[in-house]
C-alpha cells in the first residue's frame, strides 16, 4: 500500500471530549501533543484548524454496519458505505457477515478488509459469520478468520439468531481461544419467524401485521447470558429493543457475567406508531417498539446498562423496499444520522455529556471489538482517528444528500441538532460537513 504523508495539523481551541478547551497537534497520523505544548511543538508547515466551539471526540466506531458488498453492490458498496460512515463521523466500522457470499471464510474476510483499505475512508473490519452460510448448523471457520489478515474478533449471524443452544455454547467456548466475541441477533425463530414485522400488541392486532413479540428477544437474551456465565465467555447482544431485555442485561451485569449490549439510534428515538401508514421505510428487525420501551432504552444507555450505540445501518435498493409492508426488506440507514440522533436525544437535553458519547460511540465499541488503534483517549501517542462535532448545528435530514447508495432513511425530514464537522483518519481529513474527501491512494 502506498503511503501518502499527511501534513501536520494543529487543532486550535477544541472542546476535548466536552471537558475543556485544548489545542491538539497531529503529526504523522498520531496525536503529538495536547495543551499548551501543542502550539510550541508544531513544526513549520503545520496547518491550523480553528475549532472553537467544536467538540473533539475519538473517531466513532460502529460495531454493526451492513455494507452489502460482496453481492448487493446496487444497495451499497464498501466504498459508498465507507463514505457514509466518514460523513457520519466514523473512523471504523464492523461490516456484518450477511453478504453474498456470506463472510464465513478467511478469504472473504480478507476481501472485505482489502475493499475497505482501497476505499480508504474508514477502517473496515469484517465481522465473521458464526455458522457456515448463516445456516445455524455448523460453525464457520472462526479460527481461520481470526488468523487471517482481517484479524476477525467479532462473530455474528446477524439477520438470523444462533438459536441452537448447543451451537451457541460451542461458539462462545471456541472464540475464547483468541478473545473473540459472539454478537447475537436475539430472535427466537419459533416465537418470531421471518414474517414477523410489527411489535406484537394492539397495533399489530389492528393493522393485521404479523406480531414480533418482545419475549422472542428476551428469551434468547436470557438464555445467552446464562450460556456466557456457564462458558465464561464474552457475549454481545445486538440491537436490544425491549425493556425486558434491558432488565435481563442489568441483572446479568450485576452477576458479573461478561455481557455487553448495543442499542440502535432508531430504537432509541423512533416508535411503532410510525407503522400505521404501512410505510416500509420504518420496517426494521427487531421492529420499532412502543414509547415505553424506547424510554427504558434511553435510560439504560445513560446509566451504562447498555454499553454502546450501534447503527445497524442497513441499506436497501429501492425495489426491495417498494413492496407491500410484509414483503419489503428489513432495515434502515443509520451511519450519517447516528451522531445527530444521540446528540439531539441525549446530549441536548443534558442526559449525557460528550464524554459519554465518546464512550458509547467510540471507546466501548472499539474495546468490544478489540481494536487497538480506535477509540483511544485524546492523549499524545494515540492514533489521530478523531471526530470534530459541531454541537449546535441544526439540520433537516434530506435522504437525497446521502453518501449511501440507498435511500431507506427513516430520519428524512427530521431536524437533528449536532452534526459531525470533520472526520480524521490517521490525521487525514476524510469528511468535512458531510462532504467526503478522497480516499487513500
Amino acid at each position: 500500500m502506498k503511503r501518502t504523508t499527511t501534513p501536520p495539523l494543529l487543532i486550535r481551541g477544541a472542546d476535548v471530549l466536552g471537558e475543556g478547551t485544548q489545542d491538539v497537534l497531529l503529526v504523522d497520523g498520531r496525536i503529538a501533543a495536547v495543551g499548551t505544548q501543542a502550539r510550541d511543538d508544531a513544526p513549520t508547515g503545520t496547518g491550523t484548524l480553528h475549532a472553537e466551539g467544536l467538540v473533539l471526540l475519538p473517531g466513532l466506531v460502529d460495531l454493526h454496519t451492513h455494507l452489502r458488498e460482496p453481492g448487493r453492490e446496487d444497495a451499497e458498496t464498501v466504498e459508498s458505505g465507507s463514505q457514509a460512515a466518514a460523513a457520519g463521523g466514523f473512523t471504523a466500522v464492523l461490516a456484518m457477515a450477511n453478504t453474498s457470499p456470506v463472510t464465513d471464510t478467511a478469504e472473504i474476510a480478507e476481501t472485505v478488509l482489502d475493499l475497505g483499505r482501497r476505499a480508504g475512508y474508514v477502517d473496515v473490519h469484517p465481522v465473521g459469520a458464526v455458522t457456515k452460510g448463516l445456516a445455524g448448523e455448523e460453525l464457520a471457520e472462526l479460527g481461520l478468520m481470526h488468523r487471517s489478515r482481517a484479524r476477525v474478533t467479532v462473530f455474528s449471524d446477524d439477520g438470523r439468531c444462533v438459536h441452537d443452544a448447543r451451537l451457541m455454547r460451542r461458539a462462545l467456548e471456541y472464540v475464547k481461544a483468541f478473545d473473540g466475541v459472539v454478537s447475537q441477533h436475539a430472535q427466537d425463530p419459533r416465537l418470531a419467524d421471518g414474517t414477523a414485522c410489527c411489535h406484537e400488541g394492539e397495533l399489530s392486532g389492528r393493522l393485521g401485521l404479523p406480531g414480533w413479540p418482545a419475549v422472542a428477544e428476551e428469551v434468547v437474551v436470557a438464555r445467552d447470558v446464562m450460556l456466557a456465565r456457564h462458558t465464561g465467555s464474552r457475549v454481545h447482544i445486538a440491537h436490544v429493543s425491549t425493556a425486558g431485555s434491558v432488565e435481563v442485561v442489568r441483572w446479568a451485569k450485576k452477576q458479573g457475567i461478561d455481557v455487553t449490549a448495543e442499542v440502535t439510534p432508531h430504537h432509541l428515538m423512533l416508535t411503532q406508531d410510525l407503522l400505521a401508514g404501512y410505510d416500509p421505510t420504518f420496517k426494521v428487525n427487531p421492529p420499532l417498539r412502543p414509547t415505553e420501551d424506547a424510554l427504558v432504552l434511553q435510560e439504560a444507555l445513560a446509566d451504562g446498562t447498555i454499553d454502546i450505540v450501534a447503527t445497524d445501518h442497513a441499506p436497501h435498493a429501492r425495489q426491495d423496499k417498494e413492496h407491500a409492508f410484509v414483503d419489503a426488506a428489513f432495515g434502515m440507514l443509520g451511519l450519517e444520522t447516528a451522531l445527530g440522533v444521540v446528540s439531539t436525544l441525549m446530549v441536548q437535553p443534558g442526559r449525557m455529556g460528550w464524554a459519554d458519547v465518546a464512550r458509547v460511540m467510540s471507546t466501548a465499541p472499539a474495546r468490544i471489538a478489540r481494536l487497538s488503534t480506535q477509540g483511544q483517549g485524546i492523549t499524545p501517542g494515540a492514533p489521530a482517528n478523531l471526530t470534530l462535532v459541531d454541537p449546535t448545528r441544526k439540520g433537516t435530514v434530506d435522504r437525497a444528500l446521502s453518501k449511501s447508495l440507498s435511500r431507506n432513511n427513516p430520519w428524512h425530514g427530521r431536524e437533528l441538532v449536532g452534526a459531525p464537522h470533520l472526520t480524521l483518519l490517521r490525521g487525514r481529513v476524510t469528511a468535512r460537513e458531510g462532504l467526503v474527501w478522497g480516499g487513500e491512494a
Binding site: E200, G201, E202, L203, S204, G205, R206, L207, G208, L209, G211, P213, G277, Y278, D279, P280, R318, Q319, D320, K321, E322, H323, A324, F325, V326, D327
Partner: protein, 310 residues
Amino acid sequence: MKHLLSIADLSAQEITSILDTAVSMHEVQDRDVKKLPTLRGRTIINFFFEDSTRTRSSFEIAGKWMSADTINLTGKGTSVSKGESLRDTVLTIAAMGVDMMIVRHPASGAPQQIAQWVDCSIVNAGDGTHEHPSQALLDAYSLRRALGELTDRHVAIVGDLTHSRVLRSNLLCLRKLGAAVTVVAPPTLMPSGIASWAAADGFAVSYDLDAVLPTVDAVMMLRVQRERMSGGYFPTAKEYAVTYGLTSGRLARLPAHAVIAHPGPMNRGLEISADAADAARSLVLDQVSAGVAVRMSILYHLLAGEGNAQ
C-alpha cells in the same frame, strides 16, 4: 370519497349512505335487464393478487351492471419473484388509464400503500389479515335488512379473530352504526392487544360462547381453518366445535329473533353445524346476493358521486 381502504376512513353517515343506495341497487337485481348506464366509459381493474372467486365475481358483476369496462388481472407471480416491486407493477397498470383499481392482496396494508403511489381510486377488496371493508358493509346491509337499525343491537363475532380481516372491518362498521359487539374466541385466536383495543373502541371480549349467545341479536361465525391445529392454536377440530362451534344445541338456545351470519366459505361441522347454516334465520345466502348491490353502491359512491343515480 376517493378510495375505500378501511372502514376507519368512513363516517357513520357515509356508511349509512352507502347502505341506503344499496337498497335501490338491490332492486336492479330483480329487473329483466340488469343494466344501469351510470359508469359507461369508466374502466375498472379487478387486481387480485390472491384468489377469491366470490369477491372478484361480485365486484365484476357490480361493475358490468353499471356499464363499466371491467378487466380482471391476477397479480400472482408478478412482483417479488421477477424482481419487480409492487410499486412498479401497479404503476404500469395504472398508466394504462384506469379509473379504479379493486385490489385484493395477501399482505396487510397493500391497498393503502398502492393508493399513495397511483392517482386512480383504490378499493380494498381484502388485504391480508387487516380489512375487508366491502364485506363488512354487505354484512351490515344484511343485518339491517333482518333486524332494522343496528343501534344498540348486540352482535357476537365468533371464531378465528386473529387471522380475520372480516373481523377488523366488521368491528369498526358495527361500532360506527351504534351496535354493541362482543368478540368470542379461544385466547389463542384473539388478536394481540385485544384488551386495550376493546377498551379503546368500546366492545366486549369473551372466551365463553354459551354465556354470550342468550344476549345476542345476531351471531356472526367466522371461518376457522383446520391448519390452525398444527399451529397449536387449538387441540382438535372436535374440541373447537364443542367449545366454540354454533352447534345444534346452541342454535336451539339462541333468542327466537336472533339471526346467523357467516361471510363464507363455511366449514360445516367445525364452526357451524349444517342445521345452523341452513336455518331459516341464517343470512348466509342473503349476504351473497346483497354483495352485488352493496358493491354497486360502493362503485357509485366512488366513481359517480351524488346526483347521478339512475
